[in-house]
Amino acid sequence: MNRVFHSVRWRLQIWHALILMGVIVALCMLAFRLAADDRRERIDRELESFERAFMKSFWEMPSRKTQDDHPPTNPSIRDRFMALNDATQFPLEMRDLFDPEAAESTYLAYWDGEGQALFRSANAPDSLQIPSLPESDSDPKARMRGDFRELVHGGPRGFRGVVGRDISADRAALRRLGWQITGSGVLLWFLGLLGGWWLAGRAIKPIAAISQTASRIAGGNVSERIDIANTADELGQLSHTLNDTFERLESAISRQREFTADASHELRTPLTIVLSEISRGLKREREPAEYREILTNCSHAASRMRSLVEGLLVLARQDGDPRNRPRESIDLAAATSETLEMLKPLATRHGITLRSDLQPSFCSADPQAIPIAAANLITNAIVHQASGGSVTVRVFASEGQAVLEVADTGPGIAPEHLPRLFDRFYRIDPARGSDGGHTGLGLAIVRAIAENHQGSITVESSVGAGSTFRFSVPSGESALRA
């Protein structure tokens, strides 16, 4: 039963059935009512015209006394009625009035103002009694009396007449009609149900197809897409939206796979060094100096792995939940100045001159992330050029952004590398090992930080002319407003 109530197709079908049933029932009742009314009216008209015809014949009959121009008096009318005993005086269709056995034919009866029966046709039912005085003189009043349909009319001086007929046959016919209508209604209802079932099936089929494809995709086959036959209708739109979602799902999964593969790849070589050195070291007795050398090598390799893991953790933090990102009002110049202090020894070791022009520029940012971005950019600038060069660092506010600019006098970057420069583990020389703590994640981290602050990171560089990196984040007021 649950399945029935949860299935759109079944629910559609049930509602369709109920509504169709309501409509058909209403229609059948209407049809029946119309037929019944029509028949009743017809019977009434027949009675009325019968009575009129009778009256016509009645007055046309020859009688003993002919008194022209006098309104007939009660006695004379009574006399005329008394003389009515011969059917042959009447047209064929009225002869049943005189036949006591003709119970199905129309009957007549008249009474005068004093309640005396003037005439009672032979086929009138025994149950017929004098009716009460009708209100209006002229309009006949129709009534049902058991199986008899009667018209009661009044005349001058309290004169009353009843014309009626046993309509049980008509009623039976009407009942039969009623059953026929009901039967047809039921048949139509079933046909309607079949049609509705088929229609619902056709409407549901594309949905079922979409649903199956979607389950397959969600179950693992992420490169599949929903087939869209007709792109304009509602199902086409739905398919488009779902396909877009699957596209994003697929690229997110492949980005994750790539990342995991890259990360494990990067860790393999330092790991190999550690294992190789340790295995070598344990093979035989050695001088302490040799052991020291082996341990130092292991330590360097382990440091490399640590840098890599730290870089990955920073990136993971940048990738993580947006709600956990702290925001404070930070002076980009102050953060950069601290970073420069920290990196002075590195610059000296590499023989690089550091120049800076720092103007206070406030922004709303993660206080731990900004120094990392600055450090990565400045470190890159220092280590990627030969001794004797310089690195110029500028901080300023411009067009609602706090900008950090790092320019170096290094060898520059060829244009084909620029689009992928900020990708994880992207190295200009693909085989360059991660020596000296260079993990290949520095720029990727800077980009992630920029994106998380709705800022940007750009680079201008040409071979032989050095590179300029520009990192900008929205400045304090607009960021707080945003």
Partner: protein
């Protein structure tokens, strides 16, 4: 035996070279594809240990260029462990494929196996008369009793034994027993031969004047 190790990471290169030299191999090194190819084609190595990701051009490209010229056994060492990469390496001409990180002992065993196979031998123990050479444990026994040989002496015996029946010139011996950093003094070779004769019998190594040495 003389090996060439081509690996761009300097720390790993140093570690591998040290490990192999301690196993009494003569080891030459190269840090990029071009230098590696040059060395591999200039000398006869008994085995080349080749990293996949190298600067200038990578290990697979080096193999492609090496194979038409040299049939030296090549063991590829790389971080790329996906099956397509392995297939690519082996089809390019590598004889074996080890992924990083690897077990040091396994590397040594595979190198031994490659060298053994390229000499046409199926087992690691070579029996020559009353002398038995176990290339796995790098030990030699005479009449069932282990004989103590220096590293160079063992290398000499192993090399001649693996090329049994062939006359090996002094030049070839120099090439295969000493690496490029060694000072090659002619006499050194004679001293080793004479020492081996003292330990394993005067007929063990035969001299062909003007041509070289051999083990019959």
């Amino acid at each position: 035996m003389r090996l060439l190790v081509i690996e761009d990471d300097p720390l790993l290169l140093r570690s591998l070279a040290a490990t192999l030299r301690e196993e009494n191999y003569a080891v030459d090194t190269a840090v990029d594809g071009a230098d590696g190819l040059f060395k591999a084609t200039s000398a006869d190595y008994d085995c080349i240990i080749l990293d996949g990701m190298l600067p200038v051009f990578d290990g697979w490209e080096l193999l492609r260029r090496l194979r038409p010229v040299k049939a030296t056994p090549v063991l590829m060492l790389t971080a790329r462990d996906a099956v397509p990469d392995r297939i690519r390496g082996l089809d390019a001409g590598a004889d074996d494929y080890l992924t990083k990180p690897f077990d040091g002992e396994e590397l040594l065993a595979r190198i031994r196996a490659l060298i053994r196979r390229s000499s046409g031998l199926a087992t690691s123990v070579i029996g020559i008369g009353v002398v038995s050479i176990d290339t796995g444990s790098r030990s030699v026994s005479h009449h069932g009793r282990e004989v103590s040989l220096t590293a160079r002496e063992y290398s000499l015996v192993e090399y001649l034994a693996l090329h049994r029946g062939k006359v090996v010139s002094r030049t070839e011996l120099y090439e295969h027993l000493f690496d490029e950093d060694d000072d090659t003094l002619s006499n050194l070779l004679d001293v080793h031969v004479s020492n081996v004769r003292k330990k394993l019998g005067p007929d063990f190594i035969t001299t062909r004047r003007g041509h070289g040495y051999l083990i019959e």
